[in-house]
Amino acid sequence: MSLFWETIQSDWPKIVQKTLEHVELSFISIILACLIAIPTGIYMTTHKRLANSVITVVSVIQTIPSLALFGFMIPLLGIGKTPAIVALTLYALLPILQNTYSGILSVSPNLIEAGTGMGMTRRQILWMVQLPIARSFILAGIRLVTVQTISLATIATYIAAGGLGDIITRGMSALNTNMILTGAIPVSLLVIAANILLYGLNRLLTPKGLRQQKNTTG
């Protein structure tokens, strides 16, 4: 145990640096995934034929083993941060896309009809009705993706993208459990912190009228 503390103390600057790298990788990937998946999800709700094929393609990406996906990136984009971010983004698409799509579709058609009949434009219906009601669905997708991306970013070390994976793999090759832990524990802490943060954000953003019951029919 004392050895573990010594490792932390001696490696502290490195742990901090790798943690920041890790956060950077995850954060950029999640933001990119949101920027792609949320508008696509919204678009798909009005083009349902397209929806099936898009979801199928994105699901196929999800079935590729993570190590292999990072491997595929090397011939395409080489090594380093960029291919790692692309791979993580691709992985993050499905949950956000799926939740945006089904979240918006879960809004009762009655509300859409009421809105249209009252003279709301399609854009107003989207921003004033559909997105507020679907918001907790979308945020749930983002939360899932955050956890998943922070974990997966550990593997990015194999294509030299940095992050806490560097410490873990070094510890593994040196058969140094303490070193492995100094890499793995920050990953877990990051996941827990991000989860709590997003949970709080969801509570804060969910309109009061939707908190007690998930009733979208009115």
């Binding site: 009655n110 509300l111 009809e113 009421a114 009949g117 003279g119 709301m120 009601i133 009228g209 029919t217």
Partner: protein
């Protein structure tokens, strides 16, 4: 329908359909060359069996559905020439499923249409309060609440208030009360009638419930297969149905009930009477034996002379009790006949505890008492009627 004063007729009509046709898919027409005139400031119900086109007509008015041919005039303006979004903001719309936005407060729901039109939320505070009062909900208590905290009946009241918020001249209601429980439904029907006496909007009200139509409408338009079968006031519809379809739709039972109006005969009891010559002792004995408080006093020919009961006897003195015959008879008692309608009877009963029922030659047939009336009415009336 009216005399040939076209210009005048046009300005009087809130809404006109001229030769409107609409078909769905390859099948036949939902509406074919359909004409309709809706007068201003009235509650007009569109009613008919499923598939008669009533909801289609409603949605044509706010252009949720576009016609294939023909024109629809809203206060003289062809709605086809208007921007649909602008048009809808000037038409109130209430749907069956209420359609309040669950993530918005009551205030935000009610003020939605004026806000869409660009008015600021602050400027609408007074308007929201006024509307909440109009529908009988205390503004301070309800303004900041959310729809799910309200009962179904209250939610639909908010739905009505929301439709009124932008001060439209016409309001469309698509079976607004049919998802509510019977008590709330009856309550809201009453309120709507009352409300429209104040706000005087043209209300086009779609329903499949003939009871509802008869209750609330100034004018009923009965539809079948996209054509008007009969357009009339509720009274006209009941008195002179155009054909067997109308008769059947309104319900054959109702006609029987309307024809055979309930009368005194239905609530009559056997009379206990006493001769004009009887003494007070006789009267008291009769009252005691029959456990009643009033007797009908009759002449020898069995015609009604008056009423005597404990009330009248109270003022007689003891010495007169045995010797003299009864003088304390109340003589100016109204009488009714067997065919006297119940509404007249109930008015009389409010003044008199007992009313003799007589035949044409003023001979006693029976009596109606307050207790007996209530008991018999209570047994035969439906719950819904009593609530009203």
């Amino acid at each position: 329908m009216f005399q040939r004063k076209d210009a005048k007729t046009m300005s009087d009509a809130a809404l006109e359909f001229k030769q409107v046709s609409k078909s769905y898919g390859g099948g036949g027409f939902v509406l074919n060359q359909f004409d309709l005139t809706v007068p201003k400031g009235r509650i007009v119900t569109l009613i008919g069996p499923s598939g008669c086109g009533k909801t289609t007509i409603l949605k044509l008015i706010n252009r949720l559905i576009e016609p294939e041919s023909g024109s629809i005039l809203l206060e003289g303006t062809d709605i086809g020439s208007l921007d649909p979004v602008e048009l809808r903001r000037n038409i109130g719309y209430v749907i069956q499923q209420i359609g309040l936005f669950p993530h918005m407060t009551i205030e935000d729901n009610i003020s939605l249409v004026p806000r869409l039109k660009g008015e600021s939320k602050k400027a609408l505070v007074g308007k929201v309060e006024e509307l909440l009062r109009l529908i009988g909900l205390e503004p301070e208590q309800y303004r900041k609440r959310y729809p799910h905290e309200l009962s179904g009946g209250q939610q639909q009241r908010i739905g009505v208030a929301r439709a009124l918020a932008a001060n439209p001249s016409i309001i469309l209601m698509d079976e607004p009360f049919s998802a509510l429980d019977p008590i709330s439904r009856i309550q809201l029907q009453k309120e709507l009638i009352y409300l429209n006496k104040q706000v005087k909007k043209t209300i086009v009200f779609v329903t499949h419930d003939i009871d509802e139509a008869l209750k609330i409408a100034d004018h009923i338009i009965l539809l079948k297969d996209g054509a008007i079968v009969q357009a009339a006031s509720p009274e006209q519809l009941l008195q002179s149905p155009a054909n067997d379809f109308v008769r059947e739709f309104i319900g054959a039972d109702r006609f029987r009930a309307e024809e055979v109006q309930r009368t005194a005969h239905d609530v009559m009891e056997d009379a206990v009477s006493i001769g004009q010559q009887a003494s007070i002792a006789d009267v008291l004995e009769q009252l005691g034996r029959n456990q009643i408080s009033n007797l009908v006093v009759t002449s020898q020919e069995n015609s009604v002379v008056g009423i005597i009961g404990f009330e009248q006897l109270r003022y007689s003195n003891e010495s007169a009790a045995h010797s003299t015959r009864v003088k304390q008879i109340t003589k100016d008692v109204p009488t009714v006949q067997k065919h006297t309608p119940l509404d007249k009877l109930s008015g009389l009963l409010a003044e008199h505890p007992i009313i003799p029922v007589v035949d044409e030659s003023h001979k006693l047939c029976g009596i109606v008492t307050q207790a007996g009336f209530i008991k018999k009415i209570g047994l035969s009336r439906e719950r819904g009627e009593v609530v009203l």
